[in-house]
Symmetry: D2
Subunit: 260 residues, 4 copies
């Protein structure tokens, strides 16, 4: 059993998820990094954390499988220690596609990961947090949670539902010490695992160079992680439920080039 | 085959759904009223429409069953006529209940009806509407689409996802002539089938009397139907995507008694 | 004194304001059309209404002058008849300009027209409406009421304040029978007096042709007027507080070309 | 001239404003504390900061007086040092009052402080920040910025306008290094200068005891200040434009007791 508080990251890729895990590990948490695939990448992240003097555990988990999330929570609580923070970083990003190319199975998969996944982890972990007097769930969200664009049938529906679920969870559990934060990532993240794969390596590199400036025209995961850590440690007299994050060089989602 | 344009109502209970169907029938549409149960009530609605000189068809349909919505659309298009308007009135209201009493199956059912159901009918009917140059989908929504309250885990997640789906559909299809309207019903409806059942007949009657005034302290379905009909017939140069409806005597969802 | 109910239009230009006035006149109201300048244009509008069998009065009014709005309301109530509907159509559109080119006087002028003007007419007319048991105020609003874009310092601040004022007025007076509707015009209006002047005649004509389709790629004032009239006549059991209007061919303000 | 970066607090009362000033001073800023009245209280705050090893300047300023804000900025830049952060904490809270008791002068005063005041300080300081490559403006906001309640005619209109102004400023200046953060304080603050005066000492003490818990059922200014400081120091690749803060024991503004 770890003496440290545990931070469970669901969706611990090389972008925001893994980087937030590293930050929490650097600050004294035991990080449990869970992701669906890429055992090698996962081991490297665990190794990096340990090399820096931190402690971490890696788990390959298919979050949509029955009981996978519930079992993971139970196992951590039994074998590693009480979960103090969950970083919910499962995406529903299947790439923009028109309605007719969005198969019902895809639509459902987006919901299973992004909405149902949060419900399941909340249901498994919140009663334990309440019993222990507190805990936090940091939910990585996307602009699609607040407006639906062309081609985002699955993504927007999943993310929009998730935001309302966050509000419901806070309404029910904030007064019992559980803090749920909806963190809207409004822009492109410098993340090879997600954006890099979506765009392909060449276009991704092009984007990095074009947004480059001093390499901060994209959201840098290690800077994003600073705010995650801050929010998880806000005093309970001053909790943030919703916030947005974007690069200074980006327009907010509510701005766009003048129509006329 | 009907000479009339067809209005398909999914969720044609004795409240908003059935009443909007009656309004469209009264204005010259053939109304197809679909609901899950209560054949007697369904037949009575069809009979009322016919007695008033209109035309209607009733269908008992379990909307979450595989292909049920898709088959219904295909059947109507083949046997009755082209669907011009869909009134999507399927609710996800399972009554407020705390997280631990919200079984995963319930959470999923809310989504299947309120979010996935809209996706499925949109996918079935929009390509036909685009081909014909136009059509409209009127989506009955709830306050839970814009904020999650205690006990609304399933309902809010389903409704919030649905609102984002409506925005996605408009972004993709408005310019092709398909008008999706998200109609937020922000208050109690004078509807024996839903609110009446939820509250029980006695408390419902009490509420009616208390809100009574001239019987309009609750949302009256026949008055709500006026606005549904107006929105479906807005000229395409001036379409409403989102609007709210509430009784004059009610506070809007964003107002509440001063905290201090 | 008129036997007819009175509809007062503040900002009765050749776009939405005047056209809504015409619609109300055509439906049996006496329209009082108030605008700052262009007596000839004003007389033409009154003449058109009378030629069509309606009745109307024109007034040149500088709405920001002290007591101008208050005196106009008092005069109408004394000489013409009780005001049943106010169409508040005063804009704060001074054209986009950077912060350093936005003089404090301009910033203030935007507020005086768009925010303070509504406050003043509300304060003058609502007590009379409450005494008579009802009335409505239809507020023409802009996308700037819900998000601030580059160059809109004055416009967005004025419109955003106005929207909150509408919510306050409804919270305080809806239960007393006064219905305030915030109508967000989200797109370019086919209006020579405002957009035409802003763009200049040539670019305006270009825009009309480009959006042309069947001349409805811009918001057509006479179609917008249909919805104004509908909202003003909603039964009090089903009032809309906020709605948006845009051409089918336009993206909603929350949509924009994908960033990446 | 100070070697330290300067943090200018407009509205430096004993609640959020002064406490945020103290926090910045403790972290190495020179704090300039400006408030309208209570020289004694102001001197005490400056003394406290100096006693703790920090540096600060106090100024009594009537922010609505012509050129008061502009002159203050010029004086600081000339005599003390370049302003790196502005904390804009001027309120428009005149207490809830019905429309008829809201004199036009009061309505205007709310706007002059809360909206025009921000415009003026932005216009004075942003060009300097742009020239220096960066700076931040932290705007204390209220729930009235996102919804208008009964009795908040002046307050809501002023705050709603202010939020849109913040968005406009970010849209125009974020890419030039100026970060504007709209911080929605959604709940009662443990602040004797504002809430204490509004409620009277007895009712305020009652509220503190009732919300007491471990004295954190109200927003504690020193905890709020932690987040202000964090936001002002976010790396420019990950800026927050809008966030909310409330005590864990409070419901969010979008939640309220179920209507039925």
């Amino acid at each position: 059993m770890s003496e440290k508080p545990v931070c469970l990251v669901l969706g611990a890729g090389a972008g925001i998820g893994g980087t937030v895990g590293k930050k929490f590990a650097a600050e004294g948490y035991h990080a449990v990094l869970a992701r669906r695939s890429d055992e090698e990448g996962l081991n490297r992240m665990v190794g990096d954390i340990e090399a820096a003097g931190g402690s971490a555990t890696g788990r390959l988990v298919n979050a949509v499988a029955e009981n996978a999330i519930e079992d993971l929570v139970a196992e951590i609580e039994r074998d590693i220690g009480p979960i103090k923070t969950v970083v919910f970083n499962l995406g529903a990003q299947i790439g923009n596609r028109p309605l007719e190319a969005t198969e019902p199975k895809m639509f459902q998969l987006g919901w299973q990961m992004a909405t149902f996944g949060l419900f399941r982890v909340a249901r498994a972990v919140i009663p334990l947090m309440v019993e222990r007097g507190g805990g936090s769930i940091l939910v990585t969200s996307a602009t699609a949670a607040v407006r639906g664009n062309t081609g985002q049938h699955s993504h927007a529906a999943a993310m929009g539902g998730r935001r309302m679920l966050c509000q419901t969870l806070n309404a029910e559990f904030a007064s019992k010490g559980v803090h749920v934060a909806h963190i809207l990532i409004d822009g492109a993240v410098d993340a090879p695992d997600t954006l890099g794969k979506l765009m392909g390596p060449e276009r991704f590199q092009e984007l990095r160079e074009q947004r480059g400036l001093e390499h901060d025209g994209l959201l840098l995961p290690e800077k994003v992680a600073e705010t995650y850590y801050h929010v998880a440690h806000q005093h309970r007299s001053a909790w943030t439920h919703e916030l947005d994050l974007r690069a200074f060089s980006d327009l907010a989602w509510w701005n766009h080039p003048i129509k006329i």
